[in-house]
């Protein structure tokens, strides 16, 4: 079982497979450095798509040998995004990654009905794996980036994506908490009705081998003492592997508070596509980007 982001890297290395990563508008310091590190360690090949002179300039600035990558020149960010998607579509790339292109442009290319990578009928959702000093294991979070207010169908898919990833990390029977403000199903919180139905589906085996419960507040989900203090019986029992959030409004400040105030480190990727898609904000560190690459390689290997 993978219990930390460094163990994730070890696992990917031990598979001795190389994944081809196409980066759209790759002329970004942290992105190139992260890809270079993955290439050097032997689990990735980099296909850098974007402005040729900027890519070469960025490599020079970072003292990176550009001949270690395949580099394809494009005229615009839109073209770079489309080409990266095309490479994945045709099998020339296993993973695509956003570089210095805007998320809108990049995702538009990803979800294009004919030329994109979206699985028909699937929702795109971001699943993150966070390592937090104050938690006893990795915590998977969804959705962190795409769906502002997921409906029930989207929540079901978010659950499926995160369960698949948790299982790939070696957690046989993941515990998934459907996060709310309290443990009570209430008409004031429409999400809690979705949660109740999903738990019923889980009991019927819809989500495979897992433990699902919700609504649960964060304490009941993650604090081992909380179920007893509150007198609430829940099979998740303060030991959640996965937190599924009702909105981006709640998940976004949550994971950012972990990063900024609780010493958290995150890796993540977008699901709902035929190949893993990495979208990270420009401001993310090289290390975060590197972990994202490792996580996507793990998912591509399996």
């Amino acid at each position: 079982m993978i219990c930390s982001l460094d163990q994730l890297v070890e696992k990917v290395l031990s598979c001795k497979k190389k994944q081809k990563i196409a980066v759209a508008s790759a002329q970004d310091d942290n992105t190139i450095s992260a890809i270079y590190r993955a290439v050097n360690e032997g689990f990735a090949e980099g296909i850098l798509v974007g402005d040729l002179s900027s890519i070469n300039e960025t490599c020079r600035k970072k003292d990176i040998d550009p001949s270690r990558f395949s580099i394809i020149g494009t005229e615009s960010d839109t073209e770079a995004a489309r080409l990266a998607v095309h490479l994945a579509k045709t099998g020339d790339a296993d993973i695509i990654m956003k570089g210095l292109v805007g998320t809108d442009i990049f995702l538009r290319a990803v979800i294009d009905k004919e030329k994109g990578l979206l699985i028909p009928g699937a929702a795109l959702a971001y699943v993150g794996a966070v390592e937090i000093p104050s938690y006893h294991k990795l915590l998977f979070l969804t959705d962190l980036a795409v769906i502002p207010f997921p409906d029930m169908n989207q929540k079901i898919q978010m659950a499926e994506y995160s369960l698949e990833i948790a299982r790939t990390f070696g957690i046989e029977k993941p515990k998934i908490a459907l996060v709310g403000a309290s443990e009570k199903v209430s008409p004031h919180f429409p999400n809690t009705a979705d949660y109740a139905q999903m738990c019923k589906m889980a009991a019927e085996g819809k989500f495979g081998d897992c433990i699902m419960d919700g609504p649960l507040d964060l304490f009941l989900a993650c604090d081992k003492h909380s179920p007893e203090i509150k007198g609430v019986r829940t099979p998740v029992n303060g030991d959640a592997d996965i937190l599924l959030f009702p909105s981006l409004e709640s998940s976004n400040p949550f994971y950012k508070s972990l990063m900024l105030f609780a010493g958290g480190e995150i890796a993540g990727l977008i699901r709902g596509t035929t190949k893993p898609v990495i979208v990270m904000s420009r401001s993310e560190s090289e290390k975060s980007k590197y972990y994202c690459i490792a996580m996507s390689c793990l998912m591509a290997q399996n």
Partner: protein, 300 residues
């Protein structure tokens, strides 16, 4: 003045007259310890209303020395609450605290039209967090009271909080209106409200503070993040008060700060004639104590 830590509240309390705190239905294991500790530390003068024998038994089994403590015997819980609230409305007490009764029972009496503690303002929850990784205390509202505040509610919530911060010594506190993103997005109502609140603040419709929003959490508390995004804002990276879009978001953030970031927290209900302390079983002993401290400091 800006609070660097929750213990700074001690300085505020030390400057003024002793505040009287009335504990409603005081036969409560979970609040008595903190109240007695605050009493011994000269932060408040408690008045315990409730079942005298129950109170004495709890104190005896915990070895609390209650010599000189004022206890009013009222075994009926509902009556005890009513008496407590009336004591506040008669200006015989400065702070109200919930003992062994449900929050809704307490609020029913607080909102009583005849002798309740209404001020015309909305009641709202206000919490102060001390986190090692932020350069000062950060206030967050509303994480526990208002489920889905409207724009009008949000104005009241800000006014309650700013008025409290002002009592704590803040001048023009910086208010960040939280969103999932820092852009106004027509499909996320919180970002629209944030834009309106910011503009209303510019036009002096909401006074005594500087409001900016929407700001995503990282922009609100990290100047580096804000600069990375090219956000120009007086508030970004230096937030004193963070306004939540709704309780679902607030609850998650509050618990994240307490559980994952190991924050110290103090909380109080604002908008009534006096601060109200509502602590729950899951609050630590220290959090209960700090909440009493906050309520005393905010009851000027």
């Amino acid at each position: 003045m800006v609070l660097k830590s929750l213990s700074d509240l001690r300085k505020i309390v030390a400057g003024g007259p002793m505040r009287k705190l009335v504990l409603a239905a005081a036969q409560d294991q979970h609040s008595l310890g903190a109240v007695i500790r605050a009493w011994k530390d000269n932060i408040i003068e408690p008045i315990l209303i409730g079942d005298k024998e129950g109170i004495q038994n709890i104190c005896a089994s915990n070895n609390y020395d209650i010599e000189g403590l004022r206890i009013i015997h009222e075994p009926d819980m509902d009556m005890a609450v009513e008496m407590s609230v009336k004591m506040v409305s008669n200006k015989q007490a400065d702070v109200l605290m919930k003992g062994k009764i449900g929050t809704s029972t307490l609020l029913k009496h607080v909102l009583n039209k005849e002798w309740g503690l209404r001020t015309g303002s909305l009641l709202s929850h206000f919490a102060l967090f001390e986190v090692d990784t932020y350069h000062k205390v950060i206030a967050v509202t509303d994480v526990a009271m208002n489920i889905a505040p409207t724009l009008k509610d949000k104005i009241s919530i800000i006014n309650n909080s700013v008025s409290c911060l002002t009592k704590l010594g803040y001048v023009m506190p910086k208010v960040a209106v939280l969103g999932a993103v820092e852009m106004v997005n027509e499909s996320m109502e919180a970002t629209l409200d944030a834009a309106l609140l910011s503009k209303m603040n510019q036009r002096d419709q909401i006074k005594n503070c500087i409001i900016d929003g929407p700001l995503a959490f990282d922009n609100a508390v990290s100047l580096e993040s804000a600069q990375h995004k090219g956000i120009r804002s007086e508030v970004a990276g230096d937030t004193d008060l963070l306004l939540m879009p709704d309780i679902e978001v607030g609850n998650v953030l509050y618990k994240s700060l307490v559980f994952f970031a190991k924050a110290k927290v103090a909380a109080v209900i604002l908008g009534a004639r006096v601060p109200i302390v509502l602590t729950s079983r899951s609050d630590s002993e220290q959090a209960k104590y700090d909440s009493i401290l906050l309520s005393a400091a905010a009851s000027k």
